[in-house]
Symmetry: C2
Subunit: 349 residues, 2 copies
């Protein structure tokens, strides 16, 4: 925290120019390129002086003596912070987003899945989406279904999320019995959170007589598992292929770790959850976060809401050398449309 944002007007402009140029070309950028391409009204020599100063301050790096400069994570951060709050979106991009949301989609998860594709197509990075967690939702419906020698517990959240647990079927519980109990469950447990539903089921078990009792205990178990979240929440990912082809930006080892993490989900889950609790769009750049640091990547994510309550997050992952401007405006625009959709879906009519 030295020189708190006060780089001086010109240093800031030079820095921005370098970042833009480097993002565009991927090559270390020299003073001359900047002097020619971005009219700062000064000579290469002056720019060199500024560059040296910026390097001193930790914003730039040198692969070797006589090479151009490369932005550090810190430079990207400065760059992102200095970005105008409302980035403009290209004509084509806006069109694509509008088109995507034109047909009526009624299933939020479906929409999110599509949104990851949309994001990846627009940014050329990988698209991410964190659907609403069932632990935050209220239960809309509960159903018990016999599947061979097991019982399936189906839980539907108010936002249309469906989760299931399959548990061992205790002896002597035929499908008819399940059906009978199922009928009541919806009205009894509807509107409760998962945690509350578990408690309620346990309580009912105490009061019930034998055939139902064991069944309600099983049900409570299922809610318990859902609440712990083991394997409950997932991250939707789209456009991983883009990462593979963008791979010049990464070491082989690094991209391997990134894709692995995308499959394992847990780290992304955490990252996106953090972003979900943020008020506005958030950007994590490389080393700023242990996870993104590990795979030399940046994440741009924004929460989406139904009305006032935050439901989840959408975003993208890409190399730290990222086109933050369009990434940010794209994520923001898509998040807004998803929010509108989620809000309208929540409205009973």
């Amino acid at each position: 925290m030295e020189e708190q944002d006060e780089l001086g007007e010109r240093k800031a402009r030079v820095l921005r120019a370098i970042v833009e140029e480097y993002v565009r070309t991927g090559e270390p950028v020299g003073s001359q390129t900047i002097a020619e391409g971005y009219d700062l009204g000064v000579s290469p020599a002056t720019i060199r002086n500024e560059m040296a100063a910026l390097e001193e301050l930790g914003y730039l790096d040198h692969p070797h003596t006589s090479a151009g400069r490369i932005p550090t994570d810190r430079a990207y951060r400065e760059f992102v912070n200095s970005l105008p709050a409302a980035g403009r979106l290209g004509q084509a991009q806006s069109r694509a987003i509008t088109d995507f949301f034109a047909p009526t989609v009624l299933d939020l998860e479906e929409a999110l899945r599509g949104a990851t594709q949309l994001l990846s197509k627009l940014t050329r990075y990988a698209g991410l989406a964190l659907p609403p967690s069932i632990t935050d939702e209220r239960v809309a419906h509960v159903e018990l279904v016999g599947i061979g020698s097991a019982i399936m517990v189906l839980v539907v959240g108010q936002h249309g999320r469906v989760d299931k647990r399959v548990l061992d079927r205790p002896d002597g519980l035929d499908d008819r019995l399940l059906l009978g109990l199922s009928g009541n469950l919806a009205s009894v447990l509807g509107g409760l959170t998962v945690a509350e539903a578990k408690a309620r089921a346990l309580q009912m078990a105490l009061e019930a007589s034998e055939p139902d009792r064991v069944l309600l205990t099983v049900l409570a178990d299922a809610f318990g598992e859902l609440n712990v979240g083991e394997g409950t929440d997932h991250v939707l990912v789209g456009g991983v292929a883009n990462l593979a082809s963008e791979a010049e930006a990464w070491h082989r080892e690094t991209i391997h770790r990134l894709i692995e993490a995308l499959e394992r989900e847990s780290e992304m889950l955490q990252l996106l959850r953090e972003a979900a609790s943020s008020e506005d769009l958030s950007v994590m750049i490389g080393g700023e976060h242990p996870s993104t640091g590990q795979w030399e990547a940046s994440v741009v994510a924004a929460p989406y809401r139904a009305g006032d309550t935050s439901l989840g997050t959408i975003g993208i992952v890409g190399p730290t050398r990222m086109d933050y401007l369009t990434a940010i405006s794209t994520v923001r625009a898509v998040a807004r449309r998803i929010s509108e959709l989620a809000t309208s879906l929540g409205q009973p009519r």
Copy 2:
């Protein structure tokens, strides 16, 4: 179809040696290497003659005059066909498979998801699984749930597969009404195929009076959509990261297309469906199939069954330069265990 499998004993042995060596090292292999490493009892010169003949026959290729030989797709095919029917599995591999199936899993889809991970870990390629298609299954349960301004139709298959469709809610259908109809559906539609269920729902719509009539029509629509299969069937994929790190074997463009195809699913779906209808394990090598040809990959897949009926497929994708021996035995072993699991899950008790 020339020289139908009759290469002659020695040519066949030379070919197998070359394939093994190339798979192991990834480098073009020369006559001397073969003479030293694989005791065929002949000199390098003789092997060179055989190599020339094999090249003539289309089994080998030459990057340039003075380089070693590289197997063609045809060579891999010959190699795979000549493999002993029952490949032995390594100690560690067997152990891993046993361990994986040790805990009781009750959810087939869950098990399949895990199996893709298992396969990818054991083979270092990407694991695939095709879950049972709901169109082939019989309906175990149907449920209508109101979600805000929409209706969710939940369909549970006999093997525990859950599918949902969200449709517009016609006016004047409150949740109570949905619940009322839901109660009967399970018993009326249970045991039918999706197509039959659609017909039945339509028929019931004709006979019903007004509030239910429109609802049953909606229901029939949902079944219709399920049956067409648009977005209904999915391929489970695990271990894509392995492909990225194995990337030396591929051109960047090619691996991009492969990962893209894995996300798009449609091509893989088709491939795995073909494999599902096959009696035993099937191997598709590079150019033998338009899809695998396009991304210079091979697919090893085997169907799994409950009792006698084929439910789906598990398998792997990797570069054509693949360790077919362990790939095949691994896939076969996992398929068998999945079959056992599926069979036992199907058994009502």
